[in-house]
């Protein structure tokens, strides 16, 4: 296994016991199939700045139409969840694990962007049936350099605790109509200051419980996550990434949103987790 994940199970969790995360009201949007076919539910976790709305746009409905119950959670301080300016990565992880444990069946966790980092931490606290990392931003000092090069004006304030501002060309492909792009950009919020710094510090996630199968997908033309980062992320879980050229970072909002989602669901239909 790679050196970036700590492979030792850590069972003494004094800090988590002594200082449990303060609960925050969570927004969970959902679309469930009309007939329950016994398929596992999917829990979509948006990245920093995004809320559950990003998946409500196209992905939730389409997932449900293919027979999978679909849910999307807004991390605290995002979307319709309770405001939380001091949120930490641990609090975000808590929100995801809580949302997953509330679902009727063992869930598949799908994290987008920095939401993939949150998912990779949540996997150490919840035995997901499978995990999918979409255009994952797994953090570490290199993340800052990349973001600075792509968008210096939007990134610099974030290094000093300000908001990270992403511009249109980073998030969407060329085909997306201007009106849509502007509508999505207007909805972007910001992650907690401490969580942003923790993203840069890049503390490795503890090992995933129950060894879930992991799929990584993204776009080689993503201006937030370069192809090398995709390959590295996939390599961490022993696979190659699935690539969708021509799309921006926000695969779920781009014009060709259906292609990566169908690939993801096809992978799940093969039931990679069943032993």
């Amino acid at each position: 296994m790679s050196g970036t994940t700590d492979e030792r199970v850590r069972i003494l969790r004094g800090r988590e016991w002594a200082h449990p995360v303060r609960p925050a009201r969570r927004e969970v949007l959902s679309a469930v199939p009309e007939v329950d076919e016994g398929r596992p539910p999917l829990l979509f976790v948006p990245g920093f700045g995004h809320g559950a709305w990003a998946f409500a746009e196209h992905w939730l409905e389409h997932t449900a139409s293919r027979g999978f119950p679909a849910y999307a959670v807004s991390l605290r301080g995002h979307g319709g969840s309770e405001p939380a300016s001091g949120a930490t990565l641990r609090a975000y992880t808590h929100d995801v694990v809580q949302a997953a444990a509330e679902l009727p069946r063992q869930a598949v966790l799908v994290g987008h962007g920095a939401g993939a980092l949150v998912v990779s931490h949540a996997l150490a606290r919840y035995p997901a049936r499978a995990a999918v990392l979409v255009a994952p931003v797994l953090g570490g000092p290199a993340t800052a350099g990349l973001a600075l090069r792509a968008n210096p004006v939007g990134t610099l304030p974030a290094l000093f605790g300000g908001a990270l501002r992403l511009h249109r060309r980073q998030l969407f492909g060329r085909e997306l109509p201007d009106a849509d792009a502007r509508r999505h950009l207007a909805r972007l919020g910001r992650a907690g200051r401490r969580a942003q710094w923790q993203l840069l510090a890049g503390r490795p996630a503890e090992p995933a419980v129950g060894r879930p199968p992991v799929l990584v997908l993204g776009s080689p033309d993503d201006r937030v996550v370069p192809p090398a980062a995709l390959t590295r992320a996939a390599g961490r879980y022993g696979a190659a990434p699935l690539l969708f050229p021509g799309m921006g970072h926000d695969l779920m909002l781009d014009t060709r949103w259906q292609e990566p989602l169908d690939a993801l669901l096809d992978w799940l239909v093969k039931d990679p987790g069943r032993r």
Partner: protein, 468 residues
């Protein structure tokens, strides 16, 4: 293959298709693991064993999950007001949190719904045979086990299946421990064990003597204070009655903050004594005996209300019972009291009727198993007991890690037999180890563990097992 009509002792050359000891056929379940009981520990065993790739047959004598926490079960010790005494972060399974909306100390009915959701979430019920009790568990060649079952209550034929491993999770809070007293037979009042106490109506308007200062005894004394016309509370010694909240937070979370800063025991004891003095105050002025031990040396009692009701005169603390006579009770200080109802909250003893006591290292027949990590018997690498612990914190986290360790040791037997053998000899060498520091010697503290000491030992065992 030997003919299935042969009776008598088992043939050492027996094959998997040979009959059991009494000549009935044995069905071979291959690599499947048998789990006995679908309570908290059994459920987490089923989940963790299947997660590690094992087939599992779980036998449950009742018709639902939750074991003792399911108030519908006839062996359940819970009463209407039972609440948790450890707060949520310490109580929940480490990979399936209780909902954020629940209180710090959930009610037993919430706990049952938690176990039901756990079973449904991880689809565990398909592995569980409900209404089936285990009659015998016998070792056979190759570290395998013959498990004989029948319908609960003894109906129907017995069936024997052969398993690669057995995990015992039959609970240890269902077989009442009743002390002997002179004259108890002649006592004309009502006598019951706390296991039969379900509802405060049983106490209403009566003169009640509660014997025992465990967490149940204290809960019962508090209920009697509110319901009964008179309440005496008899304890063997003075105890530290810890409030459920200190410094505005659940007391166990404050305690673990100190533990995570690695504050030494002596200093923690001193701080605890200080805090109790500032909050609860000096208990001897209520007539409660002075504790004869330092805090952390007996199983902790978390009860904020006991001292409150003692202070309101609703509970009269009394010493031990010397003897019963037809009309009342004589106490060890010579006082006479006249209760109508005596409730013995004197605890429970573990019972493993289906297993030869020698297998669990109970050579002298005292009923006390000698195991490593209170889970692994020497010389039987494919047998484990889960949940046989009295932690100073929640049990389910500990049972979870016990079953993870068992599942990984079984997996290692398959993948690296030599390393697994080394692990088995480690288990044999460690039988009878304690993980609790200094505690009072009594059957109440047989399985007493400090959760941090215990989990450190499990962590070391896991690291050793995986070669880290």
């Amino acid at each position: 293959m030997s003919p299935s009509t042969e009776h008598g002792r088992p043939d050492p050359e027996t094959t998997t298709l040979a009959p059991s000891r009494d000549g009935r056929p044995v069905s071979d379940r291959g690599d499947t693991v048998c789990v006995i009981g679908a309570g908290a520990s059994g459920l987490t065993a089923v989940k963790n064993l299947t997660e590690h790739g094992f087939g599992v047959d779980c036998y449950e004598r009742e018709t639902g999950v939750g074991g003792g926490w399911n108030w519908r079960h006839d062996r359940s010790p819970v009463y209407a007001s039972t609440h948790l005494i450890s707060s949520r972060p310490f109580t929940q399974f480490p990979d399936f949190p209780m909902p954020d909306s629940w209180p710090d100390y959930p009610h037993h009915s919430q706990l049952l719904s938690y176990f039901e959701r756990y079973a449904d979430h991880f689809d565990l019920r398909r592995h569980i045979w409900f209404g089936t009790e285990v009659v015998r568990v016998e070792p056979v060649d190759g570290d395998r086990w013959d498990v004989t079952t029948r319908s609960t209550g003894g109906y129907g034929p017995e069936r024997t299946s052969r398993y690669a491993a057995v995990l015992v999770a039959n609970g240890h809070n269902w077989s009442p421990k009743l002390p002997r007293y002179e004259g108890l037979e002649e006592f004309r009042g009502e006598v019951m064990h706390a296991s039969s106490y379900k509802d405060p109506a049983q106490l209403r308007g009566k003169r009640v003597l509660v014997v025992g200062a465990g967490n149940t005894g204290c809960d019962l004394a508090v209920e009697a204070a509110q319901q009964a016309s008179r309440c005496w509370h008899s304890t063997r010694r003075g105890y530290w009655y810890a409030p459920k909240y200190v410094l505005g937070r659940p007391a166990d979370q404050v305690n673990d903050a100190l533990l995570s800063w690695r504050v030494p025991l002596r200093l923690r004891q001193w701080l605890y004594h200080r805090t109790l003095r500032l909050t609860v105050g000096d208990l001897t002025r209520f007539g409660l005996p002075k504790p004869d031990h330092r805090v952390y040396e007996t199983h902790p009692i978390a009860n904020s209300q006991l001292v409150y009701y003692v202070g309101h005169g609703e509970i009269t603390p009394v010493p031990e019972v010397a003897r019963f006579h037809p009309g009342g009770v004589t106490l060890t200080d010579g006082r006479e009291i006249d209760p109508e109802l005596v409730v013995f909250a004197t605890g429970y003893l573990p019972r493993f009727e289906f297993l030869d006591p020698g297998i669990l290292g109970d050579a002298d027949g005292s009923g006390r198993p000698r195991l490593w990590l209170h889970a692994f018997p020497p010389g039987h690498p494919t047998l484990a007991v889960a949940g046989l612990l009295q932690p100073d914190s929640g049990l389910f986290t500990l049972a979870h890690w016990q079953t993870v360790l068992f599942a990984r040791s079984l997996r290692l037997r398959r993948e690296q037999p030599q390393r697994a053998a080394a692990f088995a000899s480690r288990a044999a060498a460690g039988a009878g180890e304690r993980y609790a520091g200094k505690v009072k010697d009594s059957s109440r503290h047989w399985f007493e563990v400090g959760h941090v000491d215990y989990l450190r030992a499990v962590q070391r065992a896991l690291d050793e097992l995986e070669g880290k």
